[in-house]
Assembly symmetry: C2
Homo-oligomer: 115 residues x 2
């Protein structure tokens, strides 16, 4: 997944070794897994040359999924390369099965992501 952190999210992630983000859609600190139980334990945090991006290696609790639509990874599809004429651009499913049903995990909570 790709997420955003503010200062507090970064500090708490370093201190508590669990991933915190800044939710841009909800404008609040977001402890990943607080509603789903899919907490991300941070095993390693890498930082880039100009220190404005971090890369996390995590161990996810429960089903091990990080994507709120039910897949293990948010990047569950790939883009077919080489052909721009197809409309829409073909996407292939690299994960064919969801790990969980979002209804079971989130109930009727509004989904902040517009799909």
């Amino acid at each position: 997944m790709l997420g955003y952190m503010n200062d507090e999210a970064l500090r708490r992630t370093i201190a508590e070794k669990e991933a915190f983000y800044w939710s841009r859609s909800r404008s609040c600190l977001w402890h990943k897994g607080e509603s789903s139980g899919l907490v991300q334990e941070v095993i390693e945090m890498r930082i880039d040359d100009d220190q404005d991006a971090v890369w996390l290696r995590v161990r996810v609790a429960g089903s091990g999924a990080s994507c709120h639509v039910g897949y293990r990874s948010c990047f569950y599809r790939s883009v077919e390369l080489g052909d721009l004429n197809a409309n829409p651009t073909p996407l292939n499913f690299n994960e064919t099965n969801r790990v969980f049903d979002p209804k079971d995990v989130y109930g009727d909570a509004p989904n902040p992501t517009r799909l």
Copy 2:
């Protein structure tokens, strides 16, 4: 590395199977490797659930490095977790040797990244 794409960068990356980005510091389309020769051949492009982020698996020409300061990865350091009292926060080098000398590759061209 983490980079940004605009519509043209995304289209050209899909069509040409080489990574293009939008350079925010230079405000121009950026064909990665155009000055360094370190072109990124795109092997796979994944896209996330709400389709605002892509993840590229690439084969890099030449020395195989993607970071303009000379390391293979921009994420060549890790952050020590668990302790917020240290100032500055300790960083460990996961890559100890640069793959190339930026002076040899970029000469005296101004470095757009403030380190």
